[in-house]
């Protein structure tokens, strides 16, 4: 996979590049701000973009704006936001254009090298990868919070994992329960949230997030 990396802290940029190359991916460009990211993505037409949020010159949301701009130019371009913070507003803006091929992870997720690369590959394949922290905050900030409160703790856990883009099988493995049990939880969630059941993983996420007002 050909990847463009945007990260202003040199030490992380270098680390990220080495990590991705270790895992057999090609980093076609590693840049340090939003403007360079736009240029690099236009030049290399990568399979995926990994970008920090806060970058020069203003250190606010350059990365996010650049990524949204990139997806406006090339709809469906897989992007993975890689930040030290979860900002509900950022996540909502990112997901406003659809959740297919979108990821938002906290930087420490990179410590689980395998998980991180899995998430990136899932995003590149058109899936979704949201940090559990992002999901928690989106659920917490959601206007539909009253409805969410009606879920049992277990169902909320399952909803969180669904929002991360996990399949029923993956959720079952994570929670150490049978897939059958997960299916029951999911059905309950859809019932309680008044959502139609859908087969495709990322459409589930889309539905959930749309319901959460993201």
């Amino acid at each position: 996979m050909r990847v463009v990396v945007a990260e202003d802290t040199a030490i992380l940029r270098v680390g990220l590049v080495q990590l991705l190359e270790d895992e057999g991916h090609e980093v076609v460009a590693a840049v340090a701000d939003g403007v360079q990211l736009l240029a690099a993505a236009a030049e290399h037409a990568p399979d995926a973009v990994v970008s920090d949020v806060r970058m020069p010159p203003s250190h606010t949301d350059e990365g996010l704006r650049a990524v949204i701009e990139l997806r406006a130019r090339r709809p469906g371009l897989p992007v993975l936001i890689f930040s030290q913070y979860v900002e509900t507003q950022y996540a909502s803006r990112l997901l406003a254009g659809g959740s297919a091929g979108v990821g938002y992870l906290l930087k420490e997720r990179v410590l689980d090298t395998r998980d991180f690369v899995d998430a990136l590959e899932r995003v590149a394949a058109g899936g979704t990868a949201l940090d559990p922290e992002v999901v928690t905050q989106l659920v917490g900030a959601s206007p539909a919070r009253g409805t969410i409160d009606g879920l049992s703790p277990r169902e909320r856990e399952v909803l969180g994992l669904m929002a991360q883009g996990r399949s029923n099988a993956a959720i079952a493995a994570q929670l150490v329960v049978t897939e059958r049990a997960v299916e029951k939880h999911v059905a309950n969630i859809f019932l309680k949230l008044d959502l139609p059941v859908s087969a495709a993983d990322h459409r589930r996420v889309l539905a959930v997030l749309r319901h959460l007002g993201a």
Binding site: L12, G15, Q84, V110, L111
Partner: protein, 428 residues
């Protein structure tokens, strides 16, 4: 001597005298306007006891303030006197509040006071300034008027033309020149006479049309409080940035290295894994160092042992040989110690970085309840407080927030001495 005479001869034709003449001329209408405003304010003030007219009083006070503003304008353009604008009465919430705030507004009533005194003073100004000048002009132009009068008189066959004094008539060219000479003397005296009431006027203007001492103090406190808030926010922001871009990023990078080492080990590439782990260990040491620096920047641990201990540590770590002398009685407040420490640290860094100094000295002295920090270096001097973004100016602002003062003595070629002076009213 001749210079004094020349100056005296030139004075009636100076721009200053003419500007003051315009001021004297305007004094009459302004004095009348002021009188009307003051009377209206007072009458309404008395009538306001009946409450009904009370809401009108603030409007009149606004008119009084407007006149005061006009006077400040006149003073600036005609007298070259710059008077600070006093603060406006605060807006307040609701009609009652607005009323109360306006009625007790110090600057408004001071303006009323000025306008009241200004009425007689303005008339005097008009007479001694404009009247005197006109008087001299009449004498200077006497021959002309006399001639005109003679012509008209002859024409009409009227009585004796011209002026007379005790039977002496100025009715020839030669005689009329006596009056011209008198007029010239009057004109020479005019600028000085005109300036007499101005002496009092200027004194009054500064005291009544500008902010009061309390208002000035309040403005200073408001300004420095603003600075304090901005500085506190900037400090937090700096610490956040240092942590975000520094330690936090490094720890993530450290974790990445360990993660890569792990996958190398799983793949059986032990050599590369060992290399990555060694790098991670070095990285850990750097993180600890960075955090230590950061902690020192927030609150140097040595400061707990006192200013002298902290400054000695600072001097020992400085890139240039630095002596430290601390001569204070009791320990100052912790906040004062911290401020002096960071001021010394910044000044020392400046000396090393910008002044190309070879050595420096830090001294903390106490006299009359004041603490003084002196940082001297033998660098190239020429430091200034001017210019935005000057580090020294930022420091001066921080010192001002603590009601202190930063003074700078830095001739070109050095040496440079920066003094930070702080009150030390309370002890800890």
């Amino acid at each position: 001597m001749s210079r004094t005479i020349r100056r005296a001869l030139r004075e009636p034709f100076s721009a200053r005298a003419w500007r003051e003449l315009v001021y004297s001329l305007l004094s009459a209408p302004f004095a009348l306007l002021g009188l009307v405003a003051v009377l209206a304010t007072c009458v309404l003030g008395v009538l306001s006891a009946g409450v009904v007219l009370l809401p009108l009083l603030p409007l009149l006070l606004a008119v009084d303030r407007g006149l005061a503003a006009a006077y400040r304008g006149l003073a600036r353009s005609l007298l070259g006197l710059e008077i600070e604008v006093p603060p406006r009465p605060p807006r307040g919430r609701g009609v009652g509040d607005w009323l109360a705030r306006n009625l007790v507004d110090v600057s408004s009533w001071r303006a009323v006071g000025y306008l009241a005194i200004r009425f007689p003073l303005g008339l005097v100004q008009f007479l001694l300034g404009f009247g005197w000048w006109l008087y001299s002009l009449l004498f200077l132009l006497y021959p002309l008027m006399w001639r005109l009068q003679v012509d008209t008189a002859t024409h009409k066959g009227g009585g004796d033309p011209g002026l007379g004094l005790a039977g002496f008539r100025f009715d020839t060219w030669a005689r009329s020149l006596i009056l011209v000479a008198f007029g010239a003397l009057v004109l020479l005296a005019w600028p000085w006479v005109q300036r007499l009431p101005l002496l009092l006027d200027r004194w009054l203007m500064v005291r009544l049309l500008g902010p009061s001492a309390a208002q000035r103090r309040l403005a200073l406190l408001e300004e420095t409080r603003e600075l304090a808030i901005t500085q506190a926010a900037a400090t937090l922001r700096r610490i956040e940035r240092d942590l975000h871009d520094g330690a936090q990023a490094r720890i993530i990078a450290l974790g990445m290295r360990l993660g890569r080492a792990e996958s190398r080990l799983l793949k059986g590439d032990a050599d590369k894994a060992v290399e990555l782990i060694a790098e991670a260990r070095a990285e850990t040491r750097e993180i600890v160092q960075e955090l230590r620096e950061l902690v020192r920047g927030i609150h140097p641990p040595a400061l707990d042992a006192g200013l002298e201990a902290a400054l000695t540590t600072l001097a020992a770590r400085a890139p240039l040989p630095t002596t430290v002398r601390v001569a204070v009685g009791e320990r100052p407040q912790a906040a004062v110690e911290t401020m002096l420490y960071f001021a010394a640290a910044e000044l020392l860094a400046n000396a090393a970085k910008h002044a190309e100094a070879r050595q420096a000295a830090i001294a903390v002295l106490e006299s009359e309840g004041r603490l003084r920090l002196l940082v001297t270096d033998d660098g190239r001097g020429g430091a200034t407080l001017a210019g935005a973004g000057s580090g020294l100016r930022g420091l001066a602002e921080r010192v001002r927030v603590a009601d202190g003062r930063l003074t700078l003595d830095s001739p070109l070629g050095g040496p440079t001495t920066v003094t930070v002076e702080l009150e030390s009213p309370e002890r800890r």
